[in-house]
């Protein structure tokens, strides 16, 4: 993955619009967050291999970016995206990595299912 180039990422997102696509969306502050610091409220969410179709996808803001996907009757968004890659399987992988290189958020779009 490399640092987001907003124009290029915008093109890639748009290439998945109006198709059935598989989504991976994840936010996390790590399973040990409240162990190392008991004042941390540990929260996260995870979905994988949910099929959706979005009509408009946008890259917003300066880095870290926000990515929003408008669905016919709903929304998906991810905040904090810093890195991206179109992998060898044609899957668009986006992630937000903090200064230590730890993943805080991920949004991935694919025309084929992700592994398990």
């Amino acid at each position: 993955m490399e640092l987001v180039k907003p124009d290029h990422l915008q093109e890639l997102i748009t290439s998945f619009a109006n198709k059935d696509v598989y989504i991976h969306l994840e936010t996390t502050n790590g399973s040990y967050a409240a162990h190392f610091n008991e004042s941390v409220f540990n929260a996260g969410a995870f979905i994988r291999n949910i099929v959706i179709k979005f009509e408009l996808g946008k890259v917003a803001g300066d880095s870290p970016h926000r990515i929003g996907l408008k669905l016919p009757s709903g929304w998906i968004y991810a905040q904090g995206i810093t890195h991206y890659k179109l992998d060898e399987h044609g899957r668009l992988l986006m992630a937000g990595l903090d200064a230590e290189g730890k993943l805080a958020v991920a949004l991935e779009i694919s025309e084929t299912p992700f592994t398990y």
């Binding site: 790590g30 162990h35 992998d87 992630a95 290189g101 991935e108 992700f114 398990y116």
Partner: protein
């Protein structure tokens, strides 16, 4: 002194769970000729450390960690690794009976005299606690006289309050080099930590040496069952 066993079954959810607190013990058993089976439930797919600049992404991390796990087993001298195919952070959401059966089947097949896992409720990560519950339940269902000994790892902040001090301490100094090799095999998880640790070890830092050379376990007490 590490007691000789007939067969040791180790059950943990993540590649590297074995490295920190048990790898010296595993190597010691292997030195004694004791067979050790390691059932690792997931490939740590949800690990957060991808590096910045990143060396991996969400989709490549499992393959990287799978290779690391195999190398770690080589470093420990462990030749019976079972990768059970679950997904990181989902173990507690699997059917509880299915998880108990998975452990019961492993016990039936390997007939261990000792099983090593986490202590349920005192192992911090939900996968650790879920794995521990399945193991304790599977062993509990066996007739008392046939039950293997159960060594558990606990490291929640309130562990000493609840369980006191660990009753089993293994001095693994003789296998410290293998333990370091095992930790280093999980490079995606440990590379930064090990850089710091090796500086401390080179300086003979007493806390670092203690951390490396001694492994601690709580023998599971059936009269103080967690449920």
């Amino acid at each position: 002194m590490i007691k000789k066993e007939r067969h040791v079954l180790v059950v943990f959810p993540h590649p590297d769970d074995e490295a920190f607190g048990v790898s010296g013990t595993i190597s010691s058993y292997r030195d004694m000729g004791v067979p050790v089976t390691y059932a690792c439930l997931t490939l740590g797919e949800m690990g957060r450390n991808l590096g910045n600049p990143p060396f991996a992404n969400r989709e490549t991390l499992p393959q990287i960690r799978k290779e690391e796990l195999k190398k770690a087993c080589e470093a420990m001298g462990l030749d019976d690794l079972r990768m059970m195919g679950f997904r990181d952070k989902t173990v507690e959401f699997e059917d509880d009976e299915k998880m108990v059966k998975l452990v019961a089947d492993l016990i039936e097949e390997t007939n261990p005299s000792l099983v090593i896992t986490f202590y349920p409720g005192l192992a911090v990560h939900p996968d650790h606690d879920a794995t521990a519950r399945a193991v304790v339940r599977a062993v509990r269902r066996m007739p008392e006289t046939e039950r293997p000994t159960l060594y558990t790892l606990a490291f929640a902040n309130n562990t000493v309050e609840v369980l006191g001090k660990p009753d089993v301490v293994h001095d693994i100094t003789a296998n410290a080099d293998k333990k370091i090799a095992t930790l280093k095999a999980h490079a995606s998880q440990t590379v930064w930590m090990m850089k710091e640790m090796e500086i401390k070890l080179a300086a003979q830092d007493p806390d670092a040496l203690k951390w490396l050379n001694f492994e601690h376990f709580y023998t599971y007490q059936w009269d103080k069952d967690f449920e």
